[in-house]
């Protein structure tokens, strides 16, 4: 199993959910986060005064998928979240040792 963590634009969550749904990947955790990558924020001006937007609002999506589904899931996420502009986000993949269902106590296979 792998944990896929994606940092994406806030408006892309529904697209990603739909794309993963087509792969029968249903469970996900979505968190509001702020940060910056190469985009490094920018300066905005309101009524002639500048203010720094150093940490940009993003969404973090976590999904755990079987090893066999990792490549397809990554492809789906990138396809759904991409605009081609700076600030589209990042995808990270991490190994998961074990997973359990709390209600039933069953171990994930």
């Amino acid at each position: 199993m792998k944990l896929i963590k994606s940092i994406v634009r806030p408006n892309m969550v529904d697209n990603i959910k739909e794309a993963l749904g087509k792969l029968n990947i249903a469970g996900m955790t979505v968190t509001e986060v702020r940060g910056h990558g190469r985009q490094k924020g920018h300066t905005a001006v309101y009524r002639g005064r500048e203010y720094e937007v150093s940490l940009l609002p993003k969404m973090e999506i976590e999904v755990v998928v079987p090893d066999t589904a990792v490549d397809e899931a990554i492809k789906a996420i990138i396809g759904a979240a991409r605009t081609g502009e700076i600030g589209d986000g990042r995808v990270f993949v991490m190994p998961v040792e074990q997973g359990y269902n709390i209600r039933t106590g069953e171990k994930d296979v």
């Binding site: 634009r9 806030p10 509001e32 001006v45 002639g48 005064r49």
Partner: protein
Amino acid sequence: MAWLAMGPAKGRDVDAAELRLRFSASLDRARRELVDATERGEGGRTALASHAECIDGIIRELVAQARLQTRTPLAVFAVGGYGRKSQFLYSDIDLLVVFGGAIGRPEERFVKALLHPLWDLRFQVGHHVREHADFHEPDTTNPEYLLALMDLRPLAGDRDLIDRLDGSMKASAPAWRPRILDALITLTDQRHSEFDDTLYQLEPDVKDGPGALRDVWATRLLLRLGGDRRGGVRGASPDRLRDAEEFLMRIRSGLHVDAGRNVNVLSYELQEKAVDRLRYGGPDMRRRVEALMTDYFKDARSVTRALGRVRRAAVPPAPTPIRLIGENLMWVVEGITFADAAKAAAAPAEWMRLFEASVSRNVRVADDALALIERELQKHAYEPEVFHPTADHRQRILQFMRPRPGLSARLSEMRDCGLLGAIFPELNEISCRVTRDFYHKYSVDEHTLLAVRNVERQLNNPRFGPILREIRNPELLVLALLYHDVGKAREGDHSIVGAEMAEGMIARLRLDEAARQTIDFLIRHHLKMSRIAFRRDTEEPEVVRQFASLFSTEEHLKLLLLLTLCDVGAVSPDTLTTWKEELLWRLYVDAYNQMTLGYGDDIINRDEALVAALQANRPQDIPEQEMAIFLEGLPRRYLILFSHDAIYRHVRLSRDIRPNEAHFFLENNAEVWELTVVSLDKPFLFSNICGVLAYFGMDILRGHALTSLAGLAVDVFQFADTDGFFARNSQGRKEFDRRLDDVVSGRTDVTSLLKSKEDSVLTRRSLVRRTPVVYFDTAHSQRYTVLELVADDAPGLLYRVSRVISDHGIDVDLVLISTEGQKAIDVFHITRGGAKLTEDDEASLKADLEGMLQGPAD
């Protein structure tokens, strides 16, 4: 020594296994009876007491058995809910064991012999073990324990010890009382804050939530502790409290049965089970659940009000001298009340004065005044107009709605006594209204009042507070918030239905057209900003452009931002995160910049829908071609800024216009005058018009200057006649027209005109001195350099600024003028020789503007 225990003879050795079997059977029987009663919808006081009594019997037998372990006098008490015989199916049992002497090994054996069989019977037991000597001084380190002692019920033990303990507690009661009172109030406040201090939870906790069972107990305890010492708490009916408690008990019993454990949250799923059990009939499950929840909220409200009354009576505020504070109004220790109740009862139109006086002092309305209004409203079916028969009354209601600390608390009092629904009957449709979704946590009416509370909180927000303070009519924001969700009471899109329902209120209060449009706009679009901020890519300029095109004025954008913040923040305590605030703020700034800096390049397209609508409604005297030529090259924003009628008037004014001529129109609306000038553009035109207004001492509040690519200028100024020139001079308008004509045609030089006037407005300055902001934006427009200027407002300011610009040989093509409190915010779209300014131009203009703004008066 008398022994209080019931059961087998003292000292008889009963087989433990046999005893356990007997207890299990007895307990099963009692639980079955409680379940049966609950299923019949009768799981209230009587059923719970029977259940408790069964457990009492078991404990007495166990105490009798365990008594063999020690010779020390002892007593066992039920405490907490069990002490009150409110023993629910899966509730814990709380026991207090008191020994008459020191606690040693034999006493420990007694405690084990009592508790182990109870654990074997799967009871969750909370127990305190104390020596009698501990009761001479209150244990203030454990407030929960202190409160548990208030429900002591002796189960078994030595009568002498029980009597001595009773005597000790009575003797030390005066010392305990303040500590218990403090503990009770602190714990109650903490508990309420976990629920955002509102009882109107869509999935309420029927044990711990505000207005729930623990509050019933707290109310009774406060009464016992002295809440009634002033001779009866007015309006706190014991029967009402008892009925509410019975209803809550029946619900909670059902929750235990349905969940099979100690669950106290009346979730959506369990609400559907409760309606069957409590006989809420009908084919539509939603309606049945709503009926249940409406009853729940009513009972919880009764409990909350009773608790509030006894609490205020138990801990009265610092003595306040009784003061008359207006006609038939007094400020007393309980708050603001009527001086003469009979007179007040006969004059419902004056009831709003009570709440006005209360909100302006941020003091609550006294209970007796609220009770009087409630009684009168139950007796009479008043039409809403009864509460605002005159323009003065209507104006007072409007002014009352201005955001201030305490406004939402007063509105809540009005809602609870029925006055809010009497004045605004549309709100009755959302009273206790339940909407089920994944995110709303409160009933619709409570969500609405929490949204108003959030407006008050925004006043102190460093980012949004200044925006709220800039709003000219913030009472419209509050009215829009009160009505933004009323549409949820009916079928259809609630934003549209709500806007339609608000029309009734707008008509009754006889609000003007601008106010009507503002309220309608806010209700109709109240979901739009959050949808775009949270779900669309706001870095996409087209998304921002489309969003900005919704608004006719920046004021509407600000109002929608504030409404959205307050609405989202009232969904649940966790919904408006700083993350969401940031998204809303960014969208606001981008849209604001688009509206003020970026609109110049967006020219009217003759094929667009707004033009088609203008053409379709065109009066007969305006040919299609004339309309089309007039609009040619004007910014698209012109179509949004002005009504159809205003545009048709502009077309007529533009007819036969020649160079050095100005066709203008002056009209008066309440205290604001509006001057519309149509002319062919030329250098110093804008500055000259501003100069004429300055000459007559007019205070320019807001306005727009727009120039078409063909050179037709449409300038609209709204101003206040602060010196009363028109009021003082019967020929004033004629003189104004003549001067304006002379200046625009070039027959009179405006500078000489201004210098000729004694006490020229140019010599008057604002008392506030802020460092002015002069900022050039070159990013938002391809065609124009945009100059944004924020400075202290002062008479003649716009004239002086535009004069400096024109003196630099710079053309003023578009201008947005606004005044927000003491601040003037003006945005000029400027060019030199048809092109954007160079950096040198900007530097030179900036230096002169700053010099003029910061330098001494002329």
